[in-house]
Assembly symmetry: C2
Homo-oligomer: 435 residues x 2
């Protein structure tokens, strides 16, 4: 059969990985796909870099838009990143009847609904295994492998930068800012790490998973997004004493009232597999009614792990590109007319447990006041540490884990606790998930 | 679109699960598949049980072969188990142009080559996600998600019964026979547990994974199969002291000389995720050149987890059953003419590390003799415990972990050690994998 011609937009880290793996494993891939998959044109602003990486074996251009219109190209792979140019390229590729593969989570979380609608009109495939959790095949698992199930929730460590920082903060007892600088030196964090450390990247990925898991549109603007930049080492320590680790989780949960979609630092019990995913690794845990819990673990970033996912999409498309659209897996797992407009709930409606740390005066009755407020709000306490006040100290810490409650209920109780004379400053709260 | 009609052969535990999940999640499944998937006939020897489980909603028969010839049936699902009747049913279904779904690992590991050849002749699909690791989508991951990669090895905890027994032996310090009886009482082990405890079931699954991972035919008869029935608690204890847990692993590894295909109790370092897969859970770790290590975890058995995998196959086939065969994923991941006859190596050629436990006379020079023999054979020692002989004891234990060596080389050295006057009885050896 004749080869499939791929136009590669962007030959940076991931693009370079795709090029290298396609070349190195050409035989193995063709043995599976039944035909050759070859990159015939590469678009990059940096033509010199592109030339170096491709050894002059393919056509080079700085006109990415031109590639999306090239009649010889069957599949366009977008690895430029960002939202603006990438969206133009996606829509142009689709408009010109190209299948479109991307690793760009921001693009899909923000503009996915528009892009998938355009793809349906033109009967082309949009594939994005690499957009969530890099080399871990979580998109295919959710879309195809769990198709018998009602998926109940998805919870993932889906940002390697923050997971690396959290592992280091715990292991070395260092503060956030110092570990971040170290991560930047080691190349685990970007020069501008905002998207990673503030949870935006994880929220893009959680948004994509929520759409596929529940058959809903992308609703990134409704996601609750909280990063790790304000996390204090003292809380990692107390959590450890209570048997928990703190992970930045992306969570999507279906409830009768709607969807919870949230990213935040989360206490996870140390005996759970998810708590033991360390460093830059990713993992996604899925709870579904028939299969129960399944977990998918691997490298969530990097040139070749991400390339593995991009090329798997290329092989899938190669197989199906001449098949009727009805033979394809729907973009969002559910048939387009079966995507339901279920709302994402405001964070106040989230059902979660809490870790609370309070700075209190070391005097009788304080604990009684606090527990009374919690009891009034129907919040029950699962575990507690009261740090002993040191010699001559007038203040001490109380740390509590609560059972599950509605978040706005907890917030109201916490406001009452903060109003107590014996409680100093704000109550530090972190969410805890039993998973 | 018109519904897909499924004939279900066998409505025992798994068959009952498939029926129940297809009914309970009919809407969710149809939202994904684009059409209804319905069981229209059930064949079972026990018509009364079938009637009870189906509430009389479908046609019942005790003639399974008749179902494979029924012109109204699109897909035949075989959940009877065993090799003889199941093979006849598979070949008859295929001969009659039905797509065929099975959870039967023995059938595929032993007769898979013949069945896939028949399916190719008749242009029908054979799907078997449920045959390996129950609800974990490892077949799809190996076949589709890792298609960019040269897969280097696969190592899995793929038998829940033995994993449960090993977890219990370690946690409670009980001997094998006693834990087995307890597992039988709890329903985690069959009345005749031979296939599970002797590693045969795991070897069937490892054989299937090896074929898909490396593009080779099923070669179950070449697999090295060793179960856990002779494993002693004392070795679980010593392994623990050295930082390791003992798991029954199914391993398939590609080497330039051929394929290693082996099932045996294996020391795995306690800090590895695989070592922390406890009880009846399953997990498969895959090492591949581009993506690195990925791990897939979940329930490896049970009615609904297995049903989840069976129904995922039904959805896949529903999507593709009217598509040209070239649009389908090849049965063994690689195109039929690209399945290569790479040999499975004899166990003597396996590359592995060893745990060795020796009963020795407590006198000077013994250790020197043993380490000299190992050094002569180029086997280096990674760690060692010498148990102190108790008051009045004339014998003691030496436990060693070796670095990787060719197995026949280790066996020759062990024979020389056993021939030493100071070494009592046989040397206990267990394989260790660094994974």
């Amino acid at each position: 059969m004749k080869p499939i011609n791929v136009g590669l937009l962007g030959i940076g880290t991931v693009g370079g990985g795709v090029y290298a793996v396609l070349e190195r494993n050409a035989d193995e891939i063709a043995r599976r796909a039944g035909r050759e998959i070859r990159i015939t044109v590469v678009a990059d602003r940096d033509i010199e870099r592109a030339r170096r990486l491709t050894n002059g074996a393919v056509k080079l251009t700085d006109d990415a838009l031109g590639v999306t219109r090239d009649p010889d190209i069957d599949i366009v792979v977008e690895l430029i990143g960002g939202e603006t140019l990438a969206k133009d390229l996606a829509l142009s590729a689709i408009e010109n009847g190209k299948h479109f593969v991307t690793a760009n989570k921001a693009l899909l979380a923000v503009h996915g609904n528009e892009i998938f609608a355009a793809a349906r009109r033109r009967d082309v495939m949009v594939a994005f295994e690499a957009a969530v959790a890099g080399g871990i095949p979580i998109i295919k698992a959710l879309r195809e492998s769990l198709s018998a199930n009602r998926i109940e929730w998805v919870a993932g460590i889906i940002n390697g930068t923050t997971n690396f920082i959290l592992s280091e903060m715990r292991d070395k007892g260092l503060p956030f800012a110092e570990v971040l600088r170290q991560a930047q030196r080691l190349g685990y964090a970007e020069a501008d790490p905002t998207f990673d450390i503030e949870g935006v990247d994880a929220a893009h990925k959680a948004t994509i998973m929520s759409a596929i898991a529940f058959g809903i549109p992308m609703q990134f603007d409704k996601a609750h997004v909280e990063g790790i930049s304000r996390l204090e080492s003292v809380d990692i320590g107390y959590a450890g004493q209570l048997g928990y680790r703190i992970k930045l989780l992306g969570i999507a949960r279906k409830r009768p009232e709607g969807i919870e979609l949230r990213v935040h630092p989360t206490l996870v019990h140390a005996n759970k597999l998810l708590a033991n995913v360390e460093g830059a690794m990713n993992a996604v845990l899925v709870q579904a009614d028939a299969v129960g819990a399944t977990l998918y673990y691997g490298k969530g970033a990097g040139a070749e792990p991400t390339a593995s996912a991009v090329i798997a999409d290329l092989v899938d498309i190669t197989r199906l590109h001449t098949a009727d659209p009805e033979h394809r897996v729907p973009h969002l797992a559910f048939q387009p007319d079966q995507v339901l407009d279920v709302p994402v709930l405001p964070i106040g409606e989230a059902l979660t447990s809490f870790y609370l740390r309070m700075r209190v005066l070391d005097k009788p009755g304080v604990l009684a006041d606090i527990t009374r407020i919690l009891a009034d709000s129907d919040i029950s306490i699962d575990a507690m540490i009261q740090r002993e006040a040191g010699e001559g100290e007038s203040q001490t810490d109380i740390i509590m884990l609560t059972h599950q409650t509605v978040e706005k209920n907890a917030e109201a109780a916490i406001a009452r606790i903060e109003a107590l004379d014996s409680v100093q400053g704000k109550v530090t709260r972190l969410r805890l998930e039993t998973l």
